[in-house]
């Protein structure tokens, strides 16, 4: 359901069925709702069968990149010659994204159950759930659920009495967006600065502590129990547009809409319906101006483009943007695009881990130029400079944080150039930049 709102008839609640119902948080409450039946079923299947079912479902990673989940699991070595690890990515720091937090705080056992099934499939005896440090409430709820799962024998050296060891540990982050990047996350668990690593080697070959590792997003793993329960074919059939984008997706809608919240719809759902129907549309007297559909790292859509976008991986690419994390940032005609794009650039400048020159210097310089424009001291050449700089920041660094800074800047200048020029022409400044 569209927490904190009642389920909208156009939603397809699978993961969000129990949002808002705090009884589902407890072990007993989860069992009463059919919980842990999927884990039990999975532990009765072979590892290959479990992975095959997830492959059949077409489930793709919900953390941003959309990589097929089952396929990722097959990259893990079949022979276990050293420890295997699973990392659950609960770092959720991408501006606009707040869906994993809802999953963890309403259905913590869904995360544990999905992670346990994945851990079984890839032969990981230890799973680390990396939760961003600011999520105090989600951490407390997850820890309590984990403690209960141990007491009830779901986890531990003899998980569910099936002779399989599945341990799980919450690792609390300490404030760093970059630790959501998978290799930075592994460094952070190892007790290091959260710097992304150069690939190869890829995590399935050499990840956490140099051992084979799989990393999945919270939402990806929470989708696994329903897939095991009802079958990959059932999940695959939930699809409104492109057969390569299957299942449901949680979209966290924020910004200037009347009913911000997390809504779950089938892949391929029209963005226009999500914004105007489910999220209640614009406030009185306001018009839609722009939408960033996949978290702040993807290109901005104009209102017209947004009205024509279908929400799946291919549908977003067709409009020149990306589905990303499903964090939908809505902006109405009261929003100053130049100021907000500067604010996004400042975010990336603040969060750059500073390993790569293009990123460290590029994000800071981009922010400074945008601030200069906002101070009324910009020149027309600055726009070309920003585009040029963005080009140099794209595809040239260890991770894509640098590209992420460029995306809103480039799309913003291309699509809202008149707003930039207005600042430059009039020499008008905004207060407090």
């Amino acid at each position: 359901m569209g927490y904190p709102h009642p389920t909208h008839p156009k939603e397809t609640p699978v993961l969000s069925r129990h949002f808002g119902d705090s009884d589902a948080r407890s072990f007993d409450g989860w069992k009463r709702r059919g919980g842990y039946a999927s884990l039990e079923k999975a532990l009765g299947m072979s590892r290959e069968q479990v992975t095959e079912e997830v492959k059949t479902s077409g489930l793709r990673g919900r953390g941003g990149a959309g990589f097929p989940c089952g396929l990722k699991w097959t990259f893990m070595p079949k022979q276990r010659t050293q420890p295997h690890y699973l990392c659950v990515n609960a770092d959720e720091s991408e501006p606009g994204t707040f869906k994993d937090r809802e999953i963890m705080r309403w259905t913590p056992h869904a995360v544990i159950e999905g992670a346990a099934i994945a851990a079984y499939a890839i032969q990981a005896e230890q799973t680390y759930v990396y939760i961003r440090g600011e999520f105090t409430e989600a951490i407390a709820i997850m820890q309590q659920a984990l403690d209960e799962a141990y007491i009830k024998g779901v986890l531990g050296i003899n998980a569910m009495g099936k002779g399989v060891r599945i341990d799980m540990t919450i690792h609390r982050g300490a404030g760093a967006y970059i630790c959501g990047e998978e290799t930075a996350l592994m460094n952070s668990i190892e007790g290091k600065r959260g710097n992304p690593r150069i690939r190869p080697p890829f995590p399935a070959a050499s990840g956490l502590f140099g051992c084979p590792t799989t990393i999945n997003n919270v939402e990806t793993l929470a989708a696994v129990p329903p897939i095991i329960e009802q079958g990959g074919a059932w999940y695959r059939a939930i699809c409104l547009s492109n057969p390569n984008s299957t299942g449901t997706k949680l979209f966290s809608v924020c910004g200037t809409v009347r009913s911000p919240g997390t809504y779950e719809v089938a892949m391929g759902f029209p963005l226009k319906d999500l914004v105007h129907d489910l999220a209640g549309g614009m406030r009185p007297g306001r018009r839609l101006k722009a939408v960033i559909p996949g978290g702040s790292s993807v290109p901005i859509l104009t209102a017209d483009e947004a009205e024509a976008t279908l929400l799946d991986y291919e549908g977003c690419v067709a409009r020149g943007t990306m589905l990303g994390s499903g964090g939908v940032i809505v902006m109405d005609d009261s929003v100053d695009m130049v100021y907000q794009i500067m604010r996004l650039a400042r975010f990336y400048a603040h969060e750059s881990c500073a390993q790569c020159t293009q990123c460290r210097e590029g994000t800071a310089w981009t922010t400074k130029i945008l601030q200069r424009i906002l101070h009324g001291q910009g020149k027309l050449e600055d726009l070309d400079l920003l585009l040029d700089l963005s080009e140099q920041m794209t595809g040239t660094t260890i991770c894509v944080l640098s590209d992420s800074c460029a995306a809103p800047v480039v799309s913003g200048i291309r699509k809202f150039r008149d707003e930039f020029e207005a600042y430059i022409d009039s020499g008008r400044a905004v207060a407090q930049v």
Partner: protein
């Protein structure tokens, strides 16, 4: 879990009790047991320091370094990477509020101003003259649909407006 910030913070560097006394040591050992290396317990150990002292002092870092067989320089390098570890004492109450774009377009900067007015802190990042409040602006808190979200000590408060700020501050006074 009631870790982090806030409570009992403005302690001077001279008077800090040890973190890894007998009970602290036991807690740390239990953490270390969950990882294949000692160093992996670094972030949890630093959280223990901040919970006890309200900040991560050079003394705290030295204690962690010793407990985990790391150098103090290494520990400092990690501490400085993560924004949630306080390298200086902060006010008794520590307020982190999000002003990133999604919250910004919903008026987050007005909420920041309201916090400064209500707490008497002069500027973001500066502790109020009575030592009770530090208000900082942070990047996205992962609760963008509940603009403006505020992390006050360990309490996550949603949908804060300039109007609701005085009552929130009064509750923690």
């Amino acid at each position: 879990m009631s870790q982090t910030t806030g409570a009992g913070a403005v302690a001077g560097a001279e008077s800090l009790p040890p973190v890894f006394d007998e009970a602290g040591r036991r807690e740390l050992d239990a953490v270390v047991a969950r990882y294949p290396t000692k160093a992996a317990a670094l972030l949890p150990a630093l959280w223990m320091v901040q919970r006890k002292h309200g900040w991560v002092s050079p003394q705290g870092m030295a204690e962690v370094a010793e407990a985990l067989a790391l150098t103090p320089a290494y520990v400092k390098g990690v501490v400085t990477f993560y924004s949630m570890y306080h390298q200086h004492p902060v006010g008794t109450h520590f307020v982190q509020l999000c002003t990133t774009t999604p919250c910004n377009v919903c008026g987050a900067e007005k909420v920041a101003e309201a916090f400064l007015r209500a707490t008497g802190a002069k500027r973001l990042g500066e502790t109020s003259p009575d030592g009770a409040w530090t208000v900082v602006e942070v990047e996205c808190l992962g609760a963008c649909g509940f603009a403006t979200p505020v992390l006050l000590d360990d309490d996550f408060i949603e949908s804060v407006t300039p109007e609701s700020v005085p009552a929130i501050v009064a509750r923690y006074r």
